[in-house]
């Protein structure tokens, strides 16, 4: 039964124009990064002629020029700022609208409550995650068209990956693997941010508050990050708006902080949706 209803939900979420519109917006934002990097590429190749041709080919490596490897273009500034809103807008609104509009009543009378909430949770998670990583994947493919696959080298200074930051050794040895792992992190985080809306929909009646509270909370966390870092006693990045970017700045990323926050969000959102959902009266 779960699989049957999950298929219906996934079809509803991933085949609508709205979802693909969000992906389109994400892609357009990443194009701002590609445009600037490509003009850098043209300048770079124009400068490297004669005996210096391709001397610094490493500066055009995919791993330092895709949106997750660079951190100075308008595209990267906009994408990682608006990332939570993209995740939320993909399908985070669905449960709230179904609850408010009464659609949920028609479903609950036909399928088990647990099936409904679990399907909705999985779909919201998947749509949120995909809305975040599909533009990033598109950017990787686009960057492949004009960059090379040189392994990053810290001595050249074209990349920034701190010693002690999460998977820094992987970045300098197996960068492809690093990118895939970071895309998985972004997928999971995007999904969890979207699921926050679903969990909030149990408590709040204001649609805009449900949709935008996670984004505003992330901004507040970003502001308070130095105070929290001071309390922790070590300089690590605790703001998702910063650490969802694969190349960490201004502070290194800690695996424990990342894992802990994922675990907390998963527990809070899934716990709320399943426990509260089971008890909540939809009629």
């Amino acid at each position: 039964m779960l699989w049957r209803y999950l298929r219906i939900e996934l079809k509803k979420a991933l085949t609508g124009w709205f979802f693909w519109g969000i992906i389109g917006i994400g892609i357009v934002i990443t194009l701002f990064s590609s445009k600037e990097i490509f003009s850098n590429f043209l300048n770079f190749t124009a400068m490297q002629s004669g005996e210096f041709a391709r001397a610094e080919y490493i500066g055009l490596s995919l791993f330092g020029t895709w949106i997750g490897g660079e951190y100075h273009t308008l595209g990267v500034a906009m994408y990682f700022f608006i990332l939570p809103v993209l995740a939320i807008m993909a399908y985070g609104w669905s449960f709230f609208l179904e609850k408010k509009g009464g659609y949920i009543k028609n479903v609950i009378t036909r399928v088990d409550k647990k099936v409904y909430y679990m399907s909705k949770y999985i779909t919201t998670f998947a749509a949120g995650g995909l809305a975040v990583i599909l533009p990033l994947l598109f950017n990787i493919l686009l960057t492949c068209m004009y960059s090379n696959f040189a392994i990053p080298d810290i001595t050249y200074g074209y990349v920034s990956m701190f010693h002690g930051s999460l998977w820094s050794e992987l970045f300098y040895t197996r960068p492809f693997f690093f990118c895939i792992l970071y895309l998985i992190i972004d997928f999971v985080y995007g999904g969890l941010i979207a699921c926050c809306c679903m969990a909030l929909a149990f408590f709040l009646r204001n649609r805009l508050l449900v949709l935008l509270l996670p984004f505003l909370a992330l901004l507040a966390l970003d502001y308070l990050r130095w105070d929290i870092v001071y309390l922790l006693g070590q300089e690590v990045e605790i703001s998702p708006m910063k650490f969802l970017h694969p190349t960490p700045y201004p502070s290194p990323v800690s695996g424990w902080i990342l894992l802990g926050s994922i675990f907390f969000l998963l527990l809070a959102t899934l716990g709320t949706c399943m426990l509260r959902g089971r008890k909540a009266d939809v009629f």
Partner: protein, 280 residues
Amino acid sequence: MFFKLLSHDLNNGIRKRLAYYATALVISLTFCQGCYLVIQSLNRRGVAGLSGNLADYLVYLFQGMKVYYPGPDNPFIFPVMWVIIFILSAYLMLGYPFYDITRFGQQILVRGKSRYYWWISKCIWNVCGTVLYFGFFYLGAVLFCFVRGIPISFHVTPELLKNLLKTAAEIEMTAGECVLYLIVLPILVSLAFNMLEMLLGLLTKPVFSFGAVSLFMIISAYYKADWAIGNHSMVLRGSKVLGEDGVHTGTGLLLIGGIVIFSVVLGCIRFKRYDILTRE
């Protein structure tokens, strides 16, 4: 009839939502406390040895960010304090018009006999809401200074600001300039953002318009340009810090006025044919 509409909007959109606007007071107190801690830290290190006054705190709150020069060795880090101040204002101004149009506002619209009145009333509500939001924000700063015993005056302390904003410039402002740069311009910039957001909400969906205005704020932080109107509310991008290179306030005021008028006029035209029944 227009005044009935306006009174309805001011009653439902402001009086009954005062608690939402009061969040500005909370964030103002939080940011002022942050500024206070920075000043204390500077004093402990013997850098400044000054306590500052209300104007110094406001300069700190509206500092924005230094001019950004993109490059591989210079990561872009958005000015979170500045963004929160303006994004919260945009958020508070987002919901009410679209909430109203789907509920009681539909009845009013029919009885009001003019769609223009409805839109103009919402525009005036937007102006009042923005001013009220910043009213709470400044009230928070004044309260903070009062409680901490900090002088409530509009005389900046250049030596303190130099260290507080980490700039080499000597920032000197008269009381009139303080009012212009620290009160009038932030309110006007926020008003332009909010009006644009309300207009875009008519053309798309409210959340999209919020996203678009948020991105406009990031663009303002990224580029130092007169057209990126957010720059006019950042002290670090103004002529007081950058001199001749700073953004031009006159151009900024013209652009802000243009955006507001454009939003009002285009909103009138769009709202005339706006299908209120298909909207949620």
